[in-house]
C-alpha cells in the first residue's frame, strides 16, 4: 500500500499519451467529460467506446491497470445498470418475471449508462496513470492563473497541493509505524467492542498531529531561510512546454465532438 501511494497511480512510460503536456491532458479530459453527454444512440455510444479504447491502446498501459481502476466503481456500475433495467418502463416487454417486467427500453438505457460510466472512469484513470500528480498540480496552477485577478490564491493552493502530495508517503509511513508501535503494546483497532476501538484510535491520532505540526514548522523554517516569499516572480524547476502535438490532440477531440454532434439523434 505504501509503495503504491508514492506516485499516486502513475505508471512510467514513453507513449505519446505520457508525453503530451499535462495542461493539454487536463483540458482534454475536462472537454471529454462534457462531450460524453452528447452521446444518445448506439452509433455515438459505440464511437465513444472505440475512441476510449484507441487512447488506451496508444497509451500502452496494460489493460490490467485500467481494470483495477474500474474496481471501486463496479458496484455503482452494476447498481445503475440494474436500476435502469428494472425501473425504466419503455419499449416492449422483454421478460416477464411475474412480480415485475423487464422492458427493452430499460435494458438499453442500462447499457448506455454503463458505457458512459465506463468511458468516464477509463478516461480519468488514463489521466492519472500517465501523469504524475505533481505535474497535474503544476498544470492546474498554470491553467487557473487568470483567476488570480479575482483574488483566488492560485499559487498558494498549488503550493499546498504539492507539499501535501510530497508528504503523503512520509506521513503514511509514519501512520504505519505508529499503528505497529501501538499494536505491539496490545492496542487493537480492528476487533473488539466499538467503544474500545474508538479509544484505540486516539493514541494513533495524537502523535500524528504533533508530528505533522512539527514537520510543518521545520519545512517552513527551511523555506523561509532559502528566501521563499510567495508566488511573485518565482521561477520553476519543473517546466511544462506546449508543443504542436498538444494542439493536435485538442483539435482531434474537437473533431470527435463535432462527429458525435452530427450523429446523435
Amino acid at each position: 500500500m505504501l509503495e503504491k501511494m508514492i506516485f499516486g497511480r502513475y505508471i512510467p512510460g514513453d507513449s505519446i499519451v505520457h508525453r503530451i503536456d499535462a495542461r493539454a491532458k487536463l483540458v482534454f479530459v475536462f472537454l471529454f467529460i462534457a462531450i460524453v453527454f452528447l452521446a444518445n444512440n448506439w452509433i455515438t455510444y459505440g464511437l465513444l467506446i472505440a475512441f476510449t479504447l484507441t487512447i488506451v491502446a496508444v497509451s500502452g498501459i496494460r489493460f490490467y491497470f485500467i481494470v483495477s481502476g474500474l474496481k471501486p466503481v463496479l458496484f455503482l456500475l452494476v447498481f445503475t445498470f440494474l436500476l435502469h433495467t428494472f425501473f425504466t418502463k419503455e419499449g416492449t416487454v422483454l421478460l416477464d418475471l411475474g412480480f415485475t417486467e423487464i422492458y427493452t427500453g430499460g435494458v438499453i438505457q442500462g447499457i448506455f449508462i454503463a458505457i458512459r460510466f465506463f468511458v468516464l472512469v477509463v478516461m480519468t484513470t488514463i489521466l492519472t496513470l500517465t501523469t504524475t500528480p505533481i505535474s497535474i498540480t503544476d498544470a492546474l496552477e498554470l491553467l487557473l492563473n487568470p483567476l488570480k485577478k479575482i483574488k483566488l490564491p492560485v499559487h498558494e493552493l498549488a503550493l499546498m497541493m504539492s507539499i501535501s502530495l510530497r508528504f503523503i508517503p512520509t506521513l503514511m509511513d509514519e501512520t504505519d509505524k505508529i499503528m505497529k508501535a501501538q499494536m505491539a503494546r496490545g492496542s487493537d483497532m480492528t476487533t473488539g467492542p466499538f467503544k474500545e476501538r474508538m479509544k484505540a484510535v486516539v493514541p494513533l491520532l495524537i502523535p500524528l498531529f504533533v508530528s505533522a505540526f512539527k514537520r510543518a514548522e521545520d519545512l517552513a523554517t527551511a523555506m523561509e531561510v532559502r528566501g521563499y516569499k510567495g508566488g511573485e516572480g518565482r521561477t520553476r524547476y519543473r517546466q511544462l512546454d506546449w508543443n504542436l502535438r498538444d494542439t493536435v490532440a485538442i483539435l482531434l477531440l474537437v473533431v470527435f465532438a463535432v462527429g458525435l454532434f452530427l450523429l446523435r439523434s
Binding site: M5, G8, R9, I33, V36, G69, P72, V73, F75, L76, L77, T80, L83, H84, Q109, F112, I113, F117, L120, V121, T124, T125, T128, P133, I136, P153, E156, L157, L159, M160, M161, I163, S164, L165, F167, I168, L171, M172, T175, F194, M198, K199, V201, V202, L205, I206, L208, F209, V210, A212, F213, A216, E217, L219, A220, M223, E224, Y228, K229, G230
Partner: protein, 194 residues
C-alpha cells in the same frame, strides 16, 4: 487568504495529507449499508480551524477532496461525491469554530461539536434534497426519486447516517482534544504571533 504566511500554508498542507490518509482508513458501520463509510478525515480539518482559523479548516477539507479525486477519480466524471464531502466538512467545521471561538474551553468544544453534528445532518439532508441527489440523477440518468421514496432515502438514510458520522467524530475529537488541548493552545498562539 494567507498572503506571505508560509508557516500557516505549510501546516495546512501537512494536515491535508493527514486528512487524506485518514480518509483512506475509512470503515463501514455495522448495521448500515457498506457504501456509507465513516472516517476521521474531518478531525485534521477541525484542528486546523481551531488553531489557524476557519479558512485553514476549509482549505484542509478542500485539499483532502482534491487529493482523493487525484488518487481515485470519480465515476460521474464531475466529482459530485467529492463536492458533497467538501460541503459536509464545511457544515461541520463552521459551527464548531464559531462556538469554540466564543467559549475557549472543553465545554465550548463539546457544544460546538454537537452543534456541528446537527448542522451537518440537517444541512446535508436539505442539500441532498435540493442539489446532490438531483445532480446524481442527472449525471447517472437516474429517474429521480419522488414523493415518499425520496423522503425515505432522506429520513432513513442520509439523516441518520450523518448524525452517526457526526457522533463518531465528536467522540474521537473529544478524546483527542482532552489530551491535546495544551499543545493546541501553544500552537494556535504561535500562529497568532506571526
Amino acid at each position: 487568504m494567507f498572503k506571505s504566511n508560509t508557516r500557516k500554508l505549510i501546516a495546512v498542507a501537512m494536515l491535508s495529507s493527514l486528512s487524506f490518509i485518514l480518509m483512506l482508513l475509512a470503515f463501514p458501520l455495522p448495521a448500515l449499508p457498506a457504501y456509507l463509510k465513516v472516517d476521521f478525515s474531518d478531525v485534521p480539518a477541525l484542528i486546523a480551524a481551531i488553531t489557524m482559523g476557519p479558512v485553514a479548516g476549509i482549505a484542509v477539507a478542500f485539499l483532502k477532496n482534491v487529493l482523493d479525486w487525484f488518487f481515485s477519480g470519480s465515476p460521474t466524471g464531475v466529482p459530485v461525491g467529492h463536492m458533497a464531502n467538501f460541503v459536509t466538512s464545511i457544515l461541520f467545521i463552521t459551527p464548531v469554530y464559531l462556538i469554540y471561538k466564543k467559549v475557549t474551553s472543553s465545554k465550548g468544544m463539546y457544544l460546538g461539536l454537537v452543534a456541528g453534528t446537527v448542522s451537518m445532518a440537517i444541512g446535508m439532508t436539505l442539500l441532498n434534497y435540493l442539489v446532490f441527489l438531483p445532480m446524481y440523477a442527472y449525471f447517472l440518468n437516474f429517474p429521480m426519486e419522488t414523493g415518499s421514496a425520496l423522503m425515505n432515502t432522506l429520513v432513513y438514510g442520509i439523516l441518520p447516517f450523518n448524525l452517526i458520522k457526526g457522533a463518531f467524530i465528536t467522540v474521537v475529537m473529544v478524546l483527542v482534544f482532552k489530551k491535546l488541548k495544551p499543545y493546541l493552545d501553544k500552537v494556535s498562539q504561535s500562529y497568532q504571533l506571526t
